[in-house]
């Protein structure tokens, strides 16, 4: 089956700064793919290339087999995106924002919307200017999760959520993967990735350093460390970044 996301040797320069330096990323249909890397390693830049918001300087990025820069509008019909920093229109209420964002994709299922609002305990009548970071993130999450997208791109989607809503998010992701949706999940919450992801890409300074299923990667770390104990994702992450 054709990969949903296929990135090979991706390069992105901002002036004289090289943000992505030959990055590889591959996500198969129906997978939850964890996307890990320290701050500033190029996760968000990769996502913005995949969304066609910025143009690759070199290499290849394919979404559903097509060029995300040239075919942005068509491809966006098939995906939903939640950024890490959600900035909303200060004068609109949460409810208005969710409906407006949903209308771009032809409208939301009202039942699903209501159910998600209840689970995330979001007050829809408040103006966005009075929302906290977590509540702004809930607005973007409800607007995305209430769509029937084939691909969900989450860029640190829960960095402002409390642990209870974090658990709600994990439940929601489990539900939609059960229905065959594909998910790219960039996150710093290793427990979340460990719990949800089937496969993993770890990047550093704009380059892919590890990639594969979580089981494979654990085995690799396992061999280099203590042979009697399966490595946790945290150990794996640290083994990649700690100076040797």
């Amino acid at each position: 089956m054709e990969a949903v996301i296929e990135v090979r040797g991706l390069v992105k320069d901002f002036g004289s700064t090289r943000a992505l330096d030959g990055l590889d990323l591959s996500v198969e249909p129906g997978q939850v793919h964890g996307f890990l890397g320290p701050n500033g390693s190029g996760k968000s830049t990769t996502i913005r290339v995949l969304l066609g918001l910025i143009k690759a300087s070199g290499g290849e990025a394919r979404l559903f087999g097509e060029d995300p820069w040239r075919r942005a509008v068509e491809l966006h019909r098939r995906l939903a995106y939640v950024p890490g920093d959600v900035n909303l229109w200060p004068n609109l209420t949460g409810g208005e924002t969710i409906d407006m964002l949903g209308s771009l994709r032809g409208g939301l299922d009202p039942k699903r919307r209501e159910e998600l609002v209840e689970r995330f305990e979001l007050d829809l009548t408040k103006k966005a200017s009075t929302y906290s970071k977590g509540n702004r993130q809930k607005v973007a999450l409800v607007a995305a999760l209430a769509t029937d997208a084939e691909l969900f791109i989450f860029d640190e989607p829960t960095s402002g959520l409390d642990p209870l809503k974090e658990a709600v998010f994990q439940e929601c992701v489990k539900e939609i993967t059960g229905e065959g949706h594909t998910i790219l999940l960039s996150s710093h919450i290793l427990g979340q990735v460990e719990h949800l992801a089937d496969t993993l890409t770890i990047i550093r300074s704009g380059k892919t350093v590890e990639s594969g299923s979580i089981e494979e990667l654990r085995k690799m770390t396992h061999e280099s460390a203590d042979p009697d104990r399966p490595a946790s994702l945290e150990e794996l992450f640290l083994s990649v970044y700690e100076p040797k």
């Binding site: 913005r48 969304l51 920093d85 909303l88 949460g94 208005e96």
Partner: protein, 526 residues
Amino acid sequence: MSRFTGTGEALRFALKRDRLLLPLCVVGLIGWVGLYVASYSGLYGTQADLNSLYKSVAGNPALVAMVGPTDGLRTLGGATAWETLPVVSVISAIFAMFVVIRHTRAEEEDGRSELLLAAGSGRLATLTAAMIVTAGSLTLAAIGWLVVFLATGYEAGSSVLLVLSILGFGYVFVGTTAICCQVTAKARTARGLVGIVIGIAWFLRALGDTGPEALTWLSPLGWAQSTKAYWDDTWWPLILPVAATATTVGFALWLLSRRDIGSGLIQPRPGPDRAHPSLLHPLGFSLRVQRGSIIGWTYLLFVYGFAIGAVGDNITGILESSDALTAAFAGTSSNIVDSYFATIFTVLALMATGFTIGGVLRPHSEETHDRAALLLAGPLGKVRWAWGHVLIAYAASALMMALLGLGLALGLGVVTGDFGETGRLVASGFAQAPAMWLTASLAVLLFGISSRASVAAWGLLVAFVVIWSVASFGDLPSWIVDLSPYSHVPAVPAVPLEAGPLVTMTAIAAAVTTIGLALWRRRDLL
């Protein structure tokens, strides 16, 4: 620890942040006055020139309303003061508005001021520093103006008085802006409020100078002109701006010390939990984003038009009683009121272009506030989205200028009982739109080139204002005058409406907009 702790640091930080912008603005303000002075001393080098200026202008009620009392025009200094004081004062006030808001309310709205407050900065430090930086920059500009006047050979004492009069007006708006920043939580709204106060100050003076004199004394612009620099030097009115500055600054600091950080005196209310169907279309949503400023500007222009229209009849009355004036204007235009209205249309078209540029640059502000990605990650094309905002701004600009014409006609009609001018005045308002589109299309072009280049559009507007203001009374090479789109708008309703230049400007605006949007399609989102 005092509430002013950290003012010094805030001051240094503000100066560092604006190390390029402030010197550029100050030099610009000085250079502009220099341009005036150079063109004036060239045009009115002899007493005979001045006498003929006096003859053609003195007592003309339209010019008294637009610019100010004409009694001082017999001397070069008096003529210079007459023309420069109102326009330089207003520009100084707008400068004060931008700088104070940029360093206070805008920072607070974006959540940056909390960092400073949490780091031990006093509650009043940022506002105090912003006011000092602004007042300091205005003072530097004033010193520059003084040097220009003295170097050109103007009388020293009167020059000091003129410069202090303008500076006083700028100071009053440092305090006024500081108050407006406490009232609303949004920088954009605060700028709107200050703009309204500047408009009221101008209007009260215009009414007072052509009618009940008491109104002049309610306006800070009236105070500035009542010093009568170069012809009847009067120093005591300088006390008025000093007192007003102290009061407004004190009141602003008092308000700030009582309110919550991040909010204004007006709190946002809860709203609907579901979107109105109109929001569910990209164009409807863009309209909603621009709605506030469209309503504000349209309302303002209409009310302004109505008030000026009502005064217009007053001007006809004064004019008819003076044979000399009727004779003076007989050659230039059939109707002095029409040429007065023509000037009003140009001035307000220049002002309202501020709305047009702000409107077409909404995509830029959505981009810098990181909201654009949320929309553009959906199935909404970049060009379609940006074009929606541009279209709304263009249409609203034409509509509000037509409504300005309608306001003028209704104001005139209510007083005279004759509404026969309505069609002509609405058309005259509408005729201003192509120049506004053309200026705004250059903003679209800059936005297409890069996000950072977009702000240069405001510089273009300022340049067109300078060209208009210097060219109206002074002397500029015609190729410079021709650079401004506003120079190519027929002076309707004083002359017949000629479609040629309007069609050409619309065509250029359309082409430039298209190029701008094509460039935007090809560039990265910020």
